[in-house]
Structure formats: structure tokens, C-alpha cells
Symmetry: C2
Subunit: 573 residues, 2 copies
Amino acid sequence: MPMLAAGPLSVHELTIFFLALAVLMGVAKLLGEIVRHWGQPAVLGELLAGILLGPTVFDYLSPSFHNWLFPTEGGSAIALTGFTQLSVALLLLVAGLEVDLSSVWRQGKAALSVSLSGVLIPFAIGFGVAYMLPSLMGKDPTGEPLPFAAFIGIAMSITALPVISKVLMDLNLFKSDMGMLIMSAAMVDDLIGWMGFAFVLAMITDGGAHGANVLMNIGMTLGFAILILTVGRWILHRILPFVQAHTVWPSGVISFVLCIALLCGALTEWIGVHAIFGAFLAGVAIGDSSHLRERTRDTIHQFVMSIFVPVFFATLALHTNFIANFNLLLVLIVLVVAIIAKVVGCYLGAAIAGMSRRESLGIAFGMTARGAMEMVLADLARKAGLITDELFVAIVVMALVTSIISGPIMQYILQRKKSMKLQDLLSDKNVILNLQATTSQQAINEMAQKIAPAVSLPAEDIATTVWQREQMMHTGLPNQMAVPHGRMAGLSKPTLVLARSANGVDFDASDGKPAQLIFMLLTPQQDNGAQIELLSLIAHTFDKSQIREQVLSASNLTEIQAAINQAGSHDQH
Amino acid sequence: MPMLAAGPLSVHELTIFFLALAVLMGVAKLLGEIVRHWGQPAVLGELLAGILLGPTVFDYLSPSFHNWLFPTEGGSAIALTGFTQLSVALLLLVAGLEVDLSSVWRQGKAALSVSLSGVLIPFAIGFGVAYMLPSLMGKDPTGEPLPFAAFIGIAMSITALPVISKVLMDLNLFKSDMGMLIMSAAMVDDLIGWMGFAFVLAMITDGGAHGANVLMNIGMTLGFAILILTVGRWILHRILPFVQAHTVWPSGVISFVLCIALLCGALTEWIGVHAIFGAFLAGVAIGDSSHLRERTRDTIHQFVMSIFVPVFFATLALHTNFIANFNLLLVLIVLVVAIIAKVVGCYLGAAIAGMSRRESLGIAFGMTARGAMEMVLADLARKAGLITDELFVAIVVMALVTSIISGPIMQYILQRKKSMKLQDLLSDKNVILNLQATTSQQAINEMAQKIAPAVSLPAEDIATTVWQREQMMHTGLPNQMAVPHGRMAGLSKPTLVLARSANGVDFDASDGKPAQLIFMLLTPQQDNGAQIELLSLIAHTFDKSQIREQVLSASNLTEIQAAINQAGSHDQH
């Protein structure tokens, strides 16, 4: 008898559960971070982790080991499923928290026009194609045509709020009018899309666990949604300040939010439309309250995204063979229909609202990203028997491709530059950990020597240019920093050199102190504002004394990057 | 067929899993917060939640409903067990992260003396009593005497790091020499205690899942512990900055820490000494690295404590009847032995290290707190068949009682005052949301009127005292605040009045601006520094413009308390 069995879980099952969780989390985060470095959404890497660990690769290499680590039944499989179901409910909770209904009202007519047109037209196109040509869209011939067509319509109309907001941030558009409009429209689309999907599920669970009929299911779902978004929202808005005042902050309010989400999730699961709807609507109701602090929202977001969500996405592909079920024709059809449906719908909506052609096209492509939410939807539809594995794979691929292309296309249409990140500009080619120089001219020479090979320009030319500029007006800043700089003919892109000087070098700063952190900025002749952008990035990042101290005391480049990375992440919150 | 079944979990099981989780989390956090307001450790409330929801009360009232919500087998029971096992592993990870071996070395001889004496003497006493008089200590007559006695010895020597650190913070001793000494000694005790318990488990799982013998189990456990604390620690220390530099902060590093903890947990579970040891040692190895940022540690602590831990403690009593298994004699014996063993051990250790009598006694009672860790230990011992349900209940009660009494006794011995908290000093009796006054004298009169009934003193006397003091030197501060104050004969304790003035009242501040936040401080004639403490508390809390703005824009008292509560919690981190 296993003596350490934890109630209904045996020692072996518990070992496997922990091990499987560690492997899924580790591989998913690792690949997620790698693709993030290529500028792609993390979910791509997390999904790849599942493909790697699932039947597509790992199972193929060693089926027995795969079955040992990821069994489909037994205690560890149940425990892992419990965890992933909790994860996806929490993912939808976070998505709901990001929906800000009051900001949609503030956006007014334009947001309403883009969102309604962006949800109704894709739905109509998707529904039409799937209903008229079901076999073309990969329908299982034995299934009901109506729920299938309705599902395809909804799959075409849903958006990916997290992907869209990241694209907008990258392009420095997030807080612009266009950014707020896109975000508002995407929120409304998500709300309508998820409600629609709940109705589809309510349709097909007729005769299911509770014997309730379709109308009853839809009625209960709608009734719950209306209640939570009106009375529930009103009550939550009043309880929140009380919870925040009288509990340990922030853990009290986090538990409160999770409890409400789990209760709503249990309720909708019982109704028969899956727990994630309850969690999503609970998120919308709570997230709308002005009493929910940004830091609370952020803390919930952090831990859901770092612990729960990667595991869920990795398990998506854990028992599906992505190669065997990859039907190129189906993938292309789904992709083309998805892009056309969304672009047409949103373009028309934006044009009706009075946007220019270019703006409308930018908005339309910004909203084609489907991302993680589409995969959750497809996973549910597969489990409910609505779609085949082939269509599941096609929809997942479509969600990935639209997420990957939407940013670059939008960037091209709007001709925006991506914002620079300081830590990406530093490498061992342009960082001097211990500057030898004792005068500003020596410092500029030494830094020019360092960077010359990387930019294929003579060190003397660089030093001369920067020194001439330095003599015109010294570049010492307060806080023991200096920013010598110059424009160089023949330079292909903005370039940075960072040097640390333990004793400091006098750059004639207004506070009279010598510079310990020296940044040399080189920009092309046609610099298009790059110099100013770099300068403000440096000033902003090193504004905090804590960050300066960490960079000064770091023992290698990696620690410097870590400190700057942290400074940047503080910033986004 | 349930169509929304999530793999091996049916709709019903998933509904019950979510519902049970929500109920456990909600009730545990609610009762935890309530007992915290009485100054007691939250774990007391969380345990009470389990007693309320378990066979002791809820099952008694409605067995069928209890069995429906908390079944002992089936999918939802397995999913919930998976969650609680993960929770307790994460709790031990957090406990491990708090162990700072390098600070123990810095404390030197005194810490070593207190910790060794504080672990060896309680172990010897516990082991001796349990081995000589097993029936007195509630031993099941059929069990092996040696592992039982060893377990009791370890149960006597373990400490409760979180309880101790909270007591020290409450008494403003945390950063004192004595506080650091107690913390270091408690860390060493925990490390030795958990290793010892691992050996006990290794002893009894002989012939268990892997057929390995006792020596093999102990050897593997020891080998793993040595490896992770030397080579593992060295490697983790080098990998951490890399992870922090190249992943999204802080989610990347959180996932990394959890992954390592889960892998180590799976390994020790496989060895046969339960997953929590691996998680604990992983925590010690990682927590020791100077590269682990305070905010990362804090974020992990927050989410583990708010989401996972309350559910675990609530489930402790979920299937145990605390009334039927409450044996008063056994409870008293365990309690007396536990207190005597720890007090004698730590007192001797402190006296040997050269502490005064009073200090030694203070340290000794500070370290008697057993808290949550003891309950985890008792739960494991019960599941391993080492102890009976009666002894389990007795140990849990002992852990609670020692945690509750250690603070007050230590406070009495050292004659320390508890530090004040601003939000606890504010109520509707002493807050004026909209001050009518336009001059400082009117303001003082109005505030004196407000507080007079609560302190049973005439309003005129208060106003006269404070106004006389005000005329000697004006109490306006920068940032539009003022702190009129005075000492009052006949006042029983320090008292505060807060008034908000929309237009401001001139208190002759150095920056010339009128005060919008006015704090009137009344202290007894013998104030023992209360005035200065209150003044610094106010200055510290309202140092941030964000907090001032939140308090000024709050629409009621609860929102003011929420803002101040948040300011205070920022502070502890």
C-alpha cells in the first residue's frame, strides 16, 4: 500500500501530476519566451510546446514514455484536467476584467459602428459559407448543420484582445484615439461572440446532463448574463471598496475576485454552457468597477498568465496530432474566409464612422488577430463534438497566422515605427563594463573604438564627430550620467554604446558631478527623431536611483539587462 | 452523454470541483480575515472554515449536501486533492524561500546556539516522552514505537516562521538584533526539522511503492538535499539573472521558480518522502540567491497565500470530526510538553549565547509558536498512518494555541508596545468628510466637537488645549496637511481626528498652502512617545501624492480606509 497517498491520489499519480505540470509549464514558458523574442505572441510557443510534447512529436518518438507522463485517464489525468479547466476559466476571467464597458460608451458611435459591423458581417459570412458549403468548411457529415454554421460564424467574429493591445502598444498607438477605438470595438465583439457561443452550446447540450431543452438553456444563460451585468455589477461595485478596506491587500481582493469567478463558473457549467462563460462575465462585471485598482488587476493578470495559462495552451495539442490532422486546403479556406470576413466587416464599420481609407484599413487588419481566445473556442467546440480534429487544427492555425500577420500589416498600412527597447539595443558589442578613460575626450575615443567594428565605420571618424558635437555643448546630465552623441553619414541604424566608469568622467554636468554611466548615441544623417526617442528612453529608464545603482553594481552584461528589463516592466504597469 | 465533459472530468464533476473550490476559498478567506482583525493568525480562521464545512458542523447538519459538495472519491475529489497537494507544496516553497542561510551565518554563534539548542532539546524531550510513555502521547498501540517517537520529537522542535515574523513586526522588533537572531534560529530549526521528518517518512515507507529499503530512502533524501543546497544552489544562482534578463518580468522568473519546485517535488515524492520536501528545499536553494528580487519573492508569496494556502488549510478539517476526536487530556499533555520543550531549549540556547534573562525568556516564548507548518506535518503523519485522528486534532490545537499565545507573552516579558495602524484608528466617530471651518481656530473647534463624545471630555477643553498649542507654533505641513495636537489630562489612550477640507484651511504651512487634510492628535499626559509615533505614521503614510489624492477624492470612510490600507501594505513589502 502506498503510504503517502493523498486521499484519492496515489503516490505514483501525484508524482506524475507534479512532473507533468513541471514539464508542461517549463517547456511552454521556454518556447513562449523564445517566440516572444522574435516578436511573436507567446501563445505560439506555448502551443508548440504541446505539439512537441504531444502525439505529433514526443509520442511518435517514445509512445510508452508519453503515455507514462501524460496518461488520458486515471488520477493524474483527472488532477491535470482539473488544473487546466481552472486555468482556462481564469484566462477568461482575466479577459473579462480587461473589458471596460464604460470606456466603450465614452467612445460612442464610432466604436459601436466598428464593433457591430465587425461582428455581424464576419458572422454572416462565416455562417453563410458554412451553411451553404458545409463540406468545404470541414463539417462532419453526421452533425447538425445549424449549430455548426452558427459556430463557424462566431469563430469568424471573435477577436483577440491581448494580441491587439500588444500590437497597439508596439506601434505606440495604444493611447491614441484609433487605439482606444479598436480596443473598444474588440471588447464589444468579444462580449457578443462569447454570448453567441454560449447560445450555440446551449443548443447542442439539449438532452444532456440536465435534460433541459434548448430554450430553457438559452433563457438561463441570457438571464444570468443580464443579472450579473446589471444587478451583480451594481452589488460588486459596492462590495469591492469594503473588501479593499478591510482585508489584507491585495490578497483579500484577489481571493474575492476568484471566488466570484468560480461561483459564476460553476453556475454556467451547471446550466450547460461551460464554466468559462461564468468566469468571463464575472470578469466583465468586476472589471467595470472603478474601485478595482490597477495593481490588483495587474497582480491577477500576472499570476494567471505566468502559472495557469501556459499549461492550458500546452495541453491543447497534447492529445491531438497536428501533422496527421493538418489539411492544407481546409487551413487555407478557413484562413481566407477569416481574414476577408473580418477585414470587410471592420473596414465598412470604420468607413461608416467617418474614418479615412488608410485608417479604416489599419483598423480592419488590427482586428483580424484571433489569438488565444479563438483556440479556447475551438477546443470547446471540439470537446462538444461540434467540429472535427481537422477543423480544430485549421482554426488553431488560422488563429496563429492572423495573430502573427496583423501587427506587421497594420504597421505597413499606417507606416508606423516600432518603439525601441533599451535592453534589446545592448549586447557585448556595445557595452564597456569598466571604462579606463579619465577625461571626456578619452571616453569618447574609447567608446568609438568599441563600436567601430560593429558599425563598419572608422573609429576616428566616430570619435571626431561626437567630440565636435561635445565641444559645442557638454552632454553631462544630473545623476552622474552623460549622453555624448552625433549623426554619422554611412550609419545604417540608430546605435548605442554604454560605458560604466567607476571613478566617473567629467562631462560638465550642471550638478558638477562626474558621469558614471555614459551613453554614446549615434544616429544616421536622416534620423527621423531616433536621437530624441533614444534620449527620452534613457532618461526615463534611469530616472529611478534604484535602477542606476543596479546597473552600476551589476557584475556582467546579463545583470545590466536584467535591471533594465525590470525598469521597463515597472513602466508598463 | 455529457457533451461538455472536459476529458476525464464529467460536467457534474467539474461543476462540483469549481463550486467546492469557491466555497472553501471564500469561507476560509472570510474567517481568516475575521480572526486577523482580532489579531490572530489567519490560519486559525482557515482551519475553522474546514471545521464548519466538514463533518464537525456542516456534515452533521446536512450529510447528503456535504457528500454532494465534498465527496471523498470520484473526479471532483481527485481534482480537488490535486489542487490541495499543489497548494501545500507551494506553501513549503514559500517557506523555503524565506530561509536565508547566508543571514544565519552572519548572525554567527548566538544564532547557532539558540537554533541547535532550540531543536535538539525539544526533540529529546518529545522523543523521550513519546518513547517512554507512548500511550500518554496518544500512540496507536499497533504502530511502531521508534518512528512514532521520532515524529513526536520533530513535532516538538519545528517552528512557525510566518507567525514569528508577524509577532516580531507587530512589536517593532523585526529588524532589531533580537529579531534577526530569532528569525535565523527559526530558519535553522525548520530546515533541521523538515529534514528529520523526511527521514521518519523514509523509515516508514520501507516496502512502499518502490520496494526500496530504509537506508536507501534516507540516503537518497540526504543525497538530494546536499546536492540541491550545494551544486543546485550554485547553478540556480547563476541561471536566475539570465532568466530575469531575458523573460517577461516577473512572470518568467515566477514560472521558473515554480518549475524547479515542482520538479524537485516530483523527485522527492518518487523517493517516497512526499513532494513538499523537494519544494521546500528548492525554495531554500533559490531563496538564498541574492539575484532573487524582493518583488519576485513577494509576488510568489502573495499569490500562493491568497489562492492556494487558504484552500489547503480549509481541507485539513474537511474529513475529520474535531469534536468527536477532541481528547482534552491528550490536548493538554501535547500542549504542555510542546511549550516546556521549546521554552527550555531556546532559553538555554539564548542564555549560553550570553543574552540577559529577560531577553532569553522573550526569545524562548517567541519561538514556541508552531503555526501552519506543524499542521502540515501532522496532516502528513496522519496520512502516513503514523498518528491517530485524536493526536492529529491535539497537535493542530497545540499549533494554534502556541501561535496565539506566543505574541502576547513575548510582549509582556519584553514590555513592548504594539505598533499602531492608521486605518484601525479611524472610524465614523472621528472622521469629518467635509469640514465647514474656514480658519484654523474654527477647524480645531469643529474637530473637538466631533471627538468629544467618544473620549467623554468637554469639547471646549479639547479645543482650548489644542488651540493654545497651535498659537505657540503653527502645525501646517507641506503637501496641504496640518497636524494640530495637544496632551489632555483624563484621556485614556492616544486619539486621532481626521478632517477633510475641500477649500483648505490656513495652518501657516511653510509652503503657504492651506491644509486639506487635517489630523488632530490627542495624547494622554503620560504619552510615552505616542505623539511622535502617530506623527511619523501620518507623515510616512501620506508621503505619496497618490495616497493623498485617493483620500481627498474618496466618497466615504470605507474608501479612505481602503486607500490608507493600501499605503500600509506597500510599506511592508
